[in-house]
Amino acid sequence: MTTDKLNTNPAPRPNWTSRIDLPVATAFGCIILLLLIGSLYSPNFLSPEYLLQQLKVGAFLGVIATGMMLVILLGQIDLSVPWAVTLGAMMASAATAYGPMGEVLAIPFGVLCGVLMGLVNGIGVAYLRIPSMIVTLAVNAVAQGLMVAYTGGFAPVDSASPAMRYLAAGTILGIPNAVIVWAITGILAVFLLGRTTFGRAIYGIGNKEAAAYLSGVPTQRVVMIAFALCGGLAAFGGVLLVGYAGKAAQSMGDAYLLPAIAAVVLGGTSILGGRGNYLGTIAGVILITLLQSILSVMQIAEFGRQIIYGGVIIVMLLLYGREKSGR
């Protein structure tokens, strides 16, 4: 056997910080660039208050994008996020109306509804093998239908419980609780993706499901659970949003689908699955949040915001979202 020059220097196992790749670095670069542009407009942009405020606003998107990332890593997509968000918000505030017991269970109940919705998605994708784009689209329509029928088409009357308000709008030592909630979600996500067999299975399935199956991974179960997590996290985002705004609204989730996908993809996660890390998603979320904030601070008309928002995303994708050349 030829055993020359073999493994004499087994490289140290790279940890997650040293895996920062080009997209993630670029995303953080863009964040700094945005802050600089903003600071030219108003020095407030570099103040800690403003930055914390942005993190707080971004926390809702951050929680939702975390779930989206799990699904995108599988090479799937979840288009049911808008109504998973709304479902969580409406059901949690509805539970609040049922006395003290309802108030206690409001948050878990809202999240549970999202998990159930995600489970339907997951069963459709994993066991019925329906393309995720279609299943989640249909489930989104069903959830919308259920909520519209439930509220009679009007804005729901129930409002957030104190616990929800505290989570979303309170602070601990000057740090917004929403940011802490996002940080905890993020730490759990990093652990899940990097250190557990479940996380490894997600990356494996995203790369080649057949190979993952033949390796003895329960691929269908993993896919189903990932979708359930995504639904649960979206609903949790909705619960936080309702705590922030006080009341749920019919279309509150619509504004989160595209930013969630954009945040994950701008953070370097491949839309084809199997590649990406959570640090990138954090960068993507902050990037999107800052962009939205700057556009609104600059008091640009809605149409201009849309055009610039889309244009900036295109440019950033062109910078580093490209697939490798075939030749």
């Binding site: 997509i77 288009l79 459709g124 066991y127 019925l128 093998r129 329906i130 393309p131 784009m133 279609i134 299943v135 689209l137 249909a138 489930v139 989104n140 329509a141 069903v142 959830a143 919308q144 239908g145 259920l146 519209v148 029928a149 009679g152 088409g153 499901e209 057949a210 199956y213 033949l214 279309s251 619509d254 595209l258 996908i261 954009a262 993809v265 839309i271 084809l272 008309a301 809605e302 149409f303 201009g304 915001r305 849309q306 055009i307 610039i308 928002y309 889309g310 244009g311 995303i313 295109i314 994708l317 062109l318 979202g321 490209r322 697939e323 050349s325 075939g326």
Partner: protein
């Protein structure tokens, strides 16, 4: 030999969509208070054709194994633009129509260029271009309405009836299929689109013009989405930059395409199938009205039907004897 068997297999998706549509429409008409009258058919056709045009737009891109999440926004942009441009003399209107269609082509071309030369995933890039298209639509029409000299002659002609019976919009759609789709399907570039969607590396290896095929698909997609927007204007006499409408049309176009037997993995299906898919999806939504349900239930009903329709495809899973086939 039995060439017929292969021809039938090729059309199976389309035939299924046709069957669903006939069933749904029969239910609809049978329970409609006015019954099967030219007016009922005309209204249904006009609404159906709107979605059908956007579904055809989606089909071109889906055939290349891509997805166009901006079709709804091109549709809205064309709608808003048309509400300004369709003014004055017939010549003015004709120029306006030309302008709207050119805008659609340009939008499609932008998508195509970004996908081909930017080497970006269509699902992501069309989300972003969709935002841009919608921004422009909002810019030219911040509030719903139409230009002062809006000419409704063409609109009335194309949304009315021919010989008092046949809905003109349906006729228009048939003509479009005959002069655009059928030649496309039989052309070299059409085959290239199918080849690229089925297996891009194999197509490249075989000397198929991959880039030209993709570009053509996105251009045609923009063109048909703009035609849909034009029809929206014919139908409502006005333009409205509605984000919700745009999203609904994008999502419905995907639903229609799937119902119509076009494979989201590319390379399989036809625009004719997508048209029947669109008509069927519309008929499903309208069923509730004739059954006197509260319109509130419409989204739920459409969602459930869509979910059931796509779950039907899962029946084949029970025939799979080699579990590895599940992953291909």
């Amino acid at each position: 030999m039995n060439g017929l068997r292969y021809r039938f297999a090729e059309q199976r998706g389309m035939l299924l969509a046709l069957a669903i549509f006939v069933l749904m429409f029969a239910l609809y008409v049978a329970n409609h208070p006015a019954g099967f009258t030219p007016n009922v058919v005309q209204t249904a056709a006009n609404k159906g054709v709107l979605l059908a045009l956007v579904a055809v737009a989606q089909t071109f891109v889906v055939l290349t194994a891509g997805i166009d999440l901006s079709v709804g926004m091109i549709f809205i942009l064309a709608n808003c633009l048309a509400s300004y441009l369709l003014v004055g003399t017939p010549i003015g209107v004709a120029l306006g129509v030309g302008g709207v269609l050119l805008t659609g082509l340009a939008c499609g071309a932008l998508n195509g260029l970004l996908v081909i030369y930017g080497r970006l995933q269509p699902i992501v890039i069309t989300i972003a271009t969709g935002a841009v298209f919608f921004g422009i639509a909002l810019w030219i029409r911040p509030y719903p309405g139409s230009a002062a000299g809006f000419s409704s002659d063409l609109a009335d002609a194309l949304t009315g009836k021919v010989f008092g019976i046949i809905p003109a919009s349906l006729l228009f759609l048939v003509v479009l299929v005959l002069v655009v789709w059928v030649p496309f399907r039989r052309s070299v570039i059409g085959r290239a689109v199918y080849a690229v969607g089925s297996s891009e590396p194999a197509a490249y290896m075989s000397g198929v013009p991959v880039m030209r095929a993709k570009f053509t698909a996105y251009m045609l997609s923009g063109l048909f989405a703009a035609m849909g927007g034009l029809f929206m204007t014919f139908f409502t006499y006005s333009g409205e930059a509605s984000l919700a409408n745009g999203n609904t049309y994008t999502l419905s176009s995907i639903a229609a395409v799937v119902l119509g037997g076009v494979s989201l993995f590319g390379g399989r299906g036809s625009a004719i199938g997508a048209i029947f898919g669109a008509l069927a999806f519309r008929a499903i939504g309208d069923l509730l009205f004739v059954f006197d349900f509260d319109p509130l239930w419409q989204p739920l009903f459409q969602g459930v039907v869509l979910l059931l329709a796509v779950s039907l495809g899962a029946a084949r899973l029970f025939q799979v004897r080699n579990r590895l086939d599940l992953f291909s």
